[in-house]
Amino acid sequence: MRRSAMKRSAIGSSAALASMAVLTSLMIPLRSHLSIATTALILVVPVVIGVVIGGFVAGATSVVAGFLVYDFFFIPPYLTLWVGAPQNWAALGVYAVVMLPVARVVDRMNVARANERRYGKEIRELFELSDLLVEDQPLDVLLTVIVTTLADTFGSRQVALFLPEDDRLELAASAGEPLSEDDLQRILPADGAAFSLDSHSFERNELLVLALAAAGRPIGLLVLSAEAAARHEREPLLLFVNQIALAVERTQLRDEVLQARLTEEVARLAKTLVGAVSHDLRAPLASIKASSSLLSDGDLDIDLDARQSLATTIDVQADHLAALVQNLLDMSRIQAGVLTPRLSIVSPADLVSTVRDDVTPLLGNHPLVVDVPPDLPPVDIDEVLMSRVLTNLLQNAIRHGPKGSQVAISAHVASGETIELSVTDHGPGVRPDRRKEIFQLFARRDEDAGAGLGLTIARTFVEAHGQRIWVEDAPDGGARFCVTLPVAPSIPEEAPVGADSRH
């Protein structure tokens, strides 16, 4: 501050001296025509310039210089400091006596205007800050905005904001130089001692410490280095401390509410998962247990065909269980974020025929119609993941189609780069407003108690390939689930090892 004042003063003095030199050199040729009083009036100009630019010291310097120049160049005999006639003495005296107060008055006005401008700027910045305070932002963003704005507005070297955490005050945000360990020790209570925010604001070792409180409740502690605490800046600062406290409290309360809602939502989701998964696990388990209890009962007379059908039930239902467990494992794999497709080139017909073999036992009395031309171009996919997608879509179709209704798989080239694979059922279809949400976790029809993991997994796997999955109405009723598969980039075939390379 001091250095910049000296610099300003030097610049002011130089400007005054320069303008004085210019005016003097202009006036010297004319001095026989100018009265001594006119010359004195003109020499007021450099003094005012000096004061305006450099403040009172520069003004005083230019008064002294003006005095000497006036005497040396304009009061006869010229080019001496000798003052001849008594009225010349009077002129010189009046110049000196008038100019000093003029310099003082101009300087005061100048300082007042600068103060006003700075005050206005502060108010404007604080007003902008108050706008920021009422915006809906996360707590950490809010705190950063507060400290940086305070540092800018008050030109403070250090600004730090402390919030209570587990009975201790922790640094929550800071701007400028970090506070030293010594400073921290002076501000904060010793380790272990319970902090108290009741203490009034105080100033210590060039640090201004302000307690933030909202409606009498302690919120935190604001620390500014003391150059921000010059008397005339305190008022807007103190005014603002209250607003900051309110804003911080409001944001903290909002975050608490959000946290509580989140916890509630997680608990609800967990409950849904447990309910849905336990239903899905129990249905096959009930059939298996009932069948096995009969088969292991030696006293019962069950004919061979019935025994065979019980054994088949166990086999099929165990597959259902295995599929569900597989889905749960897939889910956890997705959630662990370890899902990277291992791409290889597969013919769509081969993919479908593998899946077809897997789902045959699950089909029951649903006829499966496959329309996948063997000459479709090969696709670049993770065969395991895409098989799961197709299996899940087929299981979904079997579950929702009425007894004995047909399930169809078909594929065709949709564009140069993709093949569209679809699974069509004759179930009730999917209402347009539900077409997005059925792919979400635990979405399912109201009357259907299953976990609804299958479509979520299908979507996740398809998206891991950067492809699309969607559902539309099938032309003759029911739902059609479509998946795009990327066509493998074709590499021109090499010429067969021909006769020309052989000798």
């Binding site: 309910g275 336990s278 239903h279 129990r282 249905a283 096959p284 388990l285 009930a286 059939s287 298996i288 247990k289 009932a290 069948s291 209890s293 009969l294 009962d297 019962l300 007379d301 069950i302 019935a306 059908s309 019980l310 039930t313 099929v316 239902q317 029951g364 007894k403 009357e447 259907d448 108690a449």
Partner: protein
């Protein structure tokens, strides 16, 4: 040989029940939906109905209520573990018993036989009840166990008599409180624990083999060997 109707939306479980219950000597009809089941129940008049609570077209509880509106046929509810509320609700709405999935076929058969043996019309207006070694004289409010008098308070006797009238069948806490203590006491669940404890002591049944409790559902009186 009894005619049994099984209503469940899982065709594979229906298949197993049919095979198993037929092997155990019953005649079995099955229904996959509530509507099918209601039609079967109305037209074939089965002797017992086994009803799953989670049906696709209509809530099992509603099926229970509708059947009760015209028939006293015993209903055994198939319920998933963890749906205690619905189990109790269905018993309150007229179901006679429940079996929790997954179940063994012998367990279901045992419940079916109990339900068949104690059809409601048989028990009406009886003046004396026998449950294994226990004899209740409803006229004089006297209980004897292996021909020795048991000293019961009036409420203890009412509690026991209510269970004896529904022997083998689970009675929900609400049903017991309503019948023994009156409709204003249906929430005084702690009465039941205390009375069950006292009755068991007086009957020398500390293990709860005669007076069985079904946690979170209610109590049932079971003749040994049932």
């Amino acid at each position: 040989m009894a005619q049994i109707l099984v209503i469940d939306d899982d065709p594979s479980l229906l298949g197993v029940c049919k095979v198993g219950l037929e092997a155990l000597g019953h005649e079995v009809r099955t229904a996959e939906t509530a509507n099918e089941g209601l039609i079967e129940a109305a037209t074939r008049t089965p002797e017992v109905i086994v009803l799953d609570l989670g049906l696709p077209d209509l809530d099992g509880l509603e099926v229970c209520k509708r059947i009760r509106s015209w028939s006293d046929v015993p209903i055994i509810v198939l319920s998933a573990d963890g749906s205690e509320d619905r189990k109790v609700e269905s018993l309150d709405h007229g179901a006679d018993d429940y079996v929790t999935k997954p179940f063994g076929m012998r367990e279901l058969d045992a419940r079916l036989r109990v339900a068949l043996r104690h059809r409601p019309d048989e028990d009406d207006h009886q003046v004396e009840l026998d449950v294994g070694p226990l004899h209740l004289d409803l006229v004089h409010c006297q209980a004897t166990l292996r021909n020795k008098a048991v000293d019961l308070t009036p409420k203890e006797f009412d509690f026991l008599a209510y269970l004896a009238r529904n022997v083998g069948k689970v009675c929900t806490r609400r049903m017991i409180l309503e019948h023994v203590w009156g409709p204003n006491h249906v929430n005084e669940l702690h009465y039941l624990k205390v009375y069950a404890y006292r009755i068991r002591r007086k009957l020398g049944d500390q293990q709860g083999q005669l007076l069985q409790s079904d946690p979170t559902v209610g109590y049932r009186l079971v003749a040994p060997g049932d």
